[in-house]
Symmetry: C2
DNA sequence: CTGAAAGCGCTTACAG
DNA sequence: CTGAAAGCGCTTACAG
């Protein structure tokens, strides 16, 4: 037959692997398995994919060879022809925000359940980097992706949606292959305002994110609407936009209190900025909640143990991730299913010691 | 020539895209670009890859067509033949630990600098899930990967190392294609002990991680060694192993204090467990640092703002990620470079109010 | 029950 | 300066 270098050294027993017990240093392929069994690659492909049409004996010999050679199908080569890789993308702006970490956990868990894998990428909220990772993901033949979009990147999203279906988190983009899952941020903001007012506060201020373009300011919309309803005819409360980080929350709150020292209630963009707000209060000798009450958003794990434990609007991030996966899977079902309509998940007020 | 359905509707001007301005709904390929320009795919490939051998005129026409068709090379198809995809993996146990989030940030940043992308995956510290994601990553033709290994998975790592070079974080595996970058955990533990003793504490306890197998208990080794040196001949201090989470730290500390109420100094596995330790103290009416001093590990962002702000051993996670990327890149340089030797990065004591 | 051919989107030698 | 052929690892019709 062909001259196989291994033949000269190995015993005649065909089942015996090399002396080292190690397969070749090159990863073994369908072809290698076929050659070892003495069958065509097509047959190996059939048993690997659980198709019909091979004898039980063949099946066993193939399985044995696969074991011995540690053969693993190359999903990407397969994807090149099937046009699917059972891999999903998840792109977020900032890994160090615990919100995204738990979203990712939920998404990954749901993906595994459906026998999909997910690759996570971060954009630092930069359009270029988002374009870069989306392109990379697409290039790897992912079947769909979930994205929490960087600011002002709708066009970029539409472009990749031509190739792969997208589920956006907390943001709508008008495109047949893009849908949205979001939390009810407007309702959450309303709950926060009502709670502060229940506690007797009448002068409120809000720390918002400067990364939110005008069509993504749902918390602000809810905040103003609730305020308008409860205090009709009064001037609108103050809103300061900042980076959604601890230091951002701290400085924005300082600015709010500088501009209007009569403010006694703060609604913050998220828990991290809320903690910043509390620090700003402490900075100027105010007590929380005595002098300043603070409501956060998200209910990240540390919110409960911070001093004082944070009153916040809880988002079920695990569920958010799970629903996002289910929606992207539905979109991949082909156009017959149509685009799933946007979903809005409920949020919940959690009262602790900061109000 | 060939019958192109587009020809019947489009104007004769070859440069004009369809009426919608949209390219076909199928992603365009090298072949499409070639057809549009009227040149062979080989030529397009040449200009895409900046090779030699085409006229300036050809180059411009190809570039134009690429623009119009929004052509993007399929990196995976390319990878199938070049055996490299300019993509790296990063697999960690737990996304919601801020330690890994910042490690990932550092790694991603360093990767981008080198024109690589990174795909992040989580294992939940489960061997099966780690095998799954590594296989998926490998299947996507990644060029190398960084992994913070799940417990007891050395064999699995060796298996994938046959195909792709691995840099482990804080763990050594004996294999020619696996190397290690770690923090000086032993030195960090020593600093913690010396600092507690400086503060007048003589009865110490440690909260350790139950996920660390015996060869990965560097903090414990450092803790015991430092204690032995400072208190020769005395009994060894108590160590309780637990899940490295907030609740884990809380219950482990409660156990330590139950078993030996004379303990006044706690060295914790990381900042999260340290915060748990502080909570455990508060639970039983002890003050920190008055009744119980606590030293954490990592210096995550919230350590500085927790009440009381945490004394901790700082790990430069961004740098850790960066070095890991550089090492994996070096390993990919081919065997000529040989395996880079393990690196140990320094850590630093940060004194705050919990001691 | 099994295989030979063509092709997914690309690049690598080779030839002109 | 440019192209035709073969192949990366796989699957999809087709034929026996």
């Amino acid at each position: 037959m062909t001259n196989n270098p291994a033949d000269s050294t190995s015993e005649s027993l065909p089942d015996s692997p090399g002396a080292t017990g190690q397969p070749a240093d090159r990863r073994s392929t369908l072809h290698d398995v076929a050659a070892r069994v003495g069958v065509s690659p097509r047959t190996v492909s059939r048993v690997v994919n659980n198709e019909e049409g091979f004898s039980e004996a063949t099946r066993e010999r193939v399985l044995e060879a696969i074991e011995e050679l540690e053969y693993r199908p190359n999903l990407v080569a397969r994807g090149l022809v099937t046009q699917q890789t059972r891999t999903l993308g998840l792109v977020v702006t900032d890994l160090s925000d615990p919100f995204f970490a738990e979203l990712a956990n939920g998404a990954q868990r749901a993906a595994i359940t459906n026998r999909y894998n997910v690759f996570l990428c971060a954009t630092d909220n930069e359009a270029d980097q988002q374009a870069n990772v989306l392109d990379s993901l697409r290039s790897h033949g992912i079947d769909g992706t979930i994205v929490f979009p960087a600011t002002d990147t709708d066009d970029g999203l539409r472009r990749v949606a031509a190739d792969v279906p997208i589920v956006c988190v907390d943001h709508e983009v008008d495109h047949p292959r893009i849908t949205t899952v979001s939390s009810d941020l407007v309702a959450g903001a309303r709950m926060a305002v009502e709670h502060l007012v229940d506690r007797g506060h009448t002068k409120l201020g809000m720390v918002a994110s400067k990364f939110s373009p005008s069509d993504r300011r749902r918390r602000e919309v809810g905040f103003l609407a609730a305020h308008r309803k409860l205090f009709p005819g009064t001037p609108e409360p103050m809103i300061v936009r900042t980076e959604p980080t601890l230091e951002g929350g701290r400085s924005a709150t300082a600015e709010l209190l500088d501009r209007d020292p009569s403010i006694t209630g703060i609604f913050a963009y998220n828990d991290i900025t809320a903690i910043g707000a509390i620090l700003a209060a402490t900075d100027r000798g105010l007590t929380v909640p005595g002098d300043l009450a603070v409501v956060g958003f998200d209910d990240v794990p540390l919110a409960a143990v911070f001093g004082p434990p944070l009153t916040t609007i809880r988002i079920d991030r695990e569920r958010l991730g799970q629903v996002a996966i289910e929606m992207v899977l539905a979109m991949m079902g082909g156009s017959r299913t149509g685009r799933p309509s946007p979903q809005i998940l409920p949020v919940e007020l959690v009262v602790r010691a900061s109000t």
